[in-house]
């Protein structure tokens, strides 16, 4: 989805009043379920429950509990304005959201403050993070199709997992169908995403993903396709992994 690339960057450190107003507007846009980010809002509940359920299975939590992720340290890479960070914080997780876009981080902080949610947002990249930081759960949702070197990126992600930790990755497959649906349809026909959001040759096949993960002693324990049903206007899990898909990886 690459929402993080759709806004220009600004310096996070020195923020003046007009900047605050801009971030506030951006924050509202991000969080408006019928606004510019509507496609992300549509797919968000599905991603959220998939990650939550996988985490509850892995860490033996009751999925019906209102704080099922309490005490778990979670890293959301490419967090945008915090559409996943906020619900996972409410579920008890200690969430660190990182995004290379300073405007996204400013918008995320603003929204979390308004809701009195304590979330550690940082304008940074995994490569720049302290190599000693460790997490129970690392999320890389719709980011690997944008990084320069997928292998190096996943190596870095894997190194940040605590022993027994969990990684969830979602991305786009690379084949003729994903080209047709992921780029032609999403960017040109439906205009869900700005043109140029995705480069098809950067898409990653499940086999390539599995290969990178296994090098880091991580095994894919669950995988699912994510398909859009135009009749119900909703996203559902599917065995069809040709376009969008998610995987859960754990230590072998």
């Amino acid at each position: 989805m690459a929402m993080q690339s759709s806004y220009s960057d600004a310096s996070a450190s020195s923020v003046d009043a007009s900047e605050v107003a801009k971030f506030s507007k951006l924050s509202e846009e991000w969080w408006d379920p019928r606004g510019k980010m509507a496609p992300l809002h549509k797919i968000n509940p599905l991603r959220l429950t998939y990650i939550r359920d996988a985490a509850c299975r892995k860490f033996d939590r009751n999925v019906r509990s209102l704080n099922c992720l309490s005490g778990l340290r979670m890293l959301d890479i490419g967090c945008g304005a915090g559409l996943l960070c906020e619900p996972f914080t409410r579920l008890g997780a200690q969430v660190i959201g990182i995004d290379p876009s300073a405007t996204n981080i400013a918008a995320a902080k603003l929204h979390a403050d308004k809701g009195h949610l304590s979330i550690d947002y940082r304008c940074t990249t995994v490569e720049e993070m302290d190599v000693r930081e460790r997490f129970d759960i690392v999320l890389a949702m719709e980011v690997i199709e944008h990084v320069v070197d997928v292998g190096a990126f996943l190596d870095r992600c894997a190194s940040m997992l605590k022993p027994g930790g969990l990684m969830v990755v979602s991305t786009l497959n690379r084949n003729w169908k994903s080209f047709a649906l992921g780029i032609v349809a999403a960017e040109y026909v439906l205009r869900w995403l700005p043109r140029g959001t995705h480069q098809w040759d950067k898409f990653v096949t499940p086999d390539e993903l599995a290969h990178h993960l296994s090098r880091n002693k991580l095994e894919i324990t669950e995988q699912s396709g994510v398909v859009y049903n135009p009749l119900g206007d909703r996203w559902t899990l599917s065995s069809d992994m040709d376009v969008n898909y998610m995987v859960v990886a754990e230590e072998v």
């Binding site: 959220l48 939550r52 999925v63 019906r64 509990s65 209102l66 906020e86 979390a112 403050d113 979330i119």
Partner: protein
């Protein structure tokens, strides 16, 4: 990151009001895992009203681990009898509802509210994520992301969602900006309990008088609770009678079906009214119990509705909360409104109609009423439908 003062506590949900509906809501919400505050003075229940727990109410109390604590204080209701005592030209025949006719062992159980309260309080004390604030709410101030409650003694707490269980003069309802439509009914209910010489055989009897219903509902042993609806003036005269004189009056009204009647200490009057708020939820505040509906004491619907409010708000909060959603946000409130609205309106309408049909001096109304009762008395399927619907709405899942 939070900007609230250090002395303030943040809760997922705060229940304001500690009557039976509020306590049940607090228990059900705490059971979901939500960090729950109950803002209510811990005082003994003030009157001697009883509740006929019908339909899913007992199952709900079982799920809260409350029922086993008070089951021995409740009397089973296996037969409900309606008797036309209007003395009018066209009178309805007697109708008897027997629970075995719809395959039930009992319609429900009648229990004194104070006994139910003791059981609810006992369970509340056991839940570690239910924090009791033994004080009254003084101000309730909702904003976009949370609601602040300040108590009489100046304690401040903040919650994402407020459950207003604070009765007819609901502060929460006012704070939410919800208007209420109130219709006084020129009737007053007198409530008291009696001991009697003959057994009730687990049968409640409702005498329909021109001034309103007079109901005798079984309590354990040779005891019953009485709700006697009258013109306000007549209710006050009964209220002023000596125990002996009221015992005689009650025996006369009961046509001595329970034998000799002896009233127990304590009696109360309640002016009848129908109250319907314009909304059940607004501005991070949802209403339960009498804050959400005031109905005349006919057909034992009031607190049964209140317990369904309590169960439903807990379900709605759990469904939203387990997805990490903000449990006080607009979609949660809309869902609660949608679930509760039809149950509450349909009950209120049915009770209002039943009551109006009693009071009517119009001959056509008497005919319709008599015909309706005749039909229910003689047509099995219709009677059984009336019984089932009286217990809980047919469209409910449980």
């Amino acid at each position: 990151m939070t900007e609230t003062p250090v002395s303030t506590s943040i809760y997922d949900v705060a229940v304001v009001g500690g009557g039976p509906a509020g306590l049940a809501a607090a228990l059900a919400l705490a059971e979901t895992g939500a960090r729950t505050a109950l803002v209510a003075r811990r005082v003994p229940y003030g009157d001697n009203r009883t509740t006929a727990l019908l339909g899913g109410s007992v199952a709900f109390l079982e799920s809260l681990d409350v029922w086993r604590r008070c089951a021995d204080k409740a009397a089973a209701l296996t037969t409900m009898r309606l008797v036309d005592d209007t003395g009018r030209l066209i009178r309805a025949p007697e109708v008897k509802f027997v629970c075995s006719e719809i395959g039930l062992e009992t319609f429900g159980y009648n229990i004194e509210n104070r006994e139910l309260m003791i059981a609810l309080e006992a369970r509340a004390a056991e839940l570690t994520n239910l924090i009791r604030i033994d004080d009254e709410a003084d101000t309730v101030s909702p904003d976009e992301m949370q609601v602040q409650v300040r108590t009489r003694q100046g304690k401040v707490l903040v919650a994402r969602l407020i459950v207003g269980a604070d009765g007819r003069q609901s502060l929460c309802r006012e704070a939410a900006g919800i208007s209420v439509k109130r219709r006084a009914l020129e009737q007053t209910a007198l409530t008291f309990n009696i001991a009697h010489s003959r057994p009730h055989k687990n049968m409640s009897t409702e005498f329909h008088t021109p001034a309103g219903p007079c109901v005798f509902v079984p309590l354990p042993g040779n005891r019953s609770s009485v709700v006697w609806v009258n013109k306000p003036r007549d209710a006050e005269s009964l209220m002023a009678l000596s125990d002996e004189a009221l015992s005689d009056a009650a025996e006369k009204q009961s046509h001595s079906i329970l034998g000799r009647v002896q009233v127990e200490p304590g009696r109360h009057t309640f002016p009848l009214a129908i109250e319907q708020p314009a909304q059940l939820a607004k501005n991070r505040i949802v209403l339960v119990g009498e804050a959400a509906h005031v109905v005349p004491p006919i057909g034992a619907q009031g607190l049964n509705l209140g317990l369904r409010d309590a169960g439903d708000i807990a379900d709605v909060v759990r469904d939203a909360g387990m997805n990490g959603a903000d449990i006080g946000a607009a979609p949660v409130l809309a869902r609660f409104e949608q679930i509760r609205r039809s149950d509450i309106s349909s009950r209120t309408f049915a009770i209002d109609m039943a009551n109006r049909s009693l009071l009517s001096d119009l001959l056509p109304m008497q005919v319709i009423r008599a015909a309706g009762m005749q039909a229910m008395g003689s047509i099995g399927p219709l009677r059984r439908l009336a019984m089932r619907e009286g217990l809980s709405p047919s469209w409910r899942k449980s």
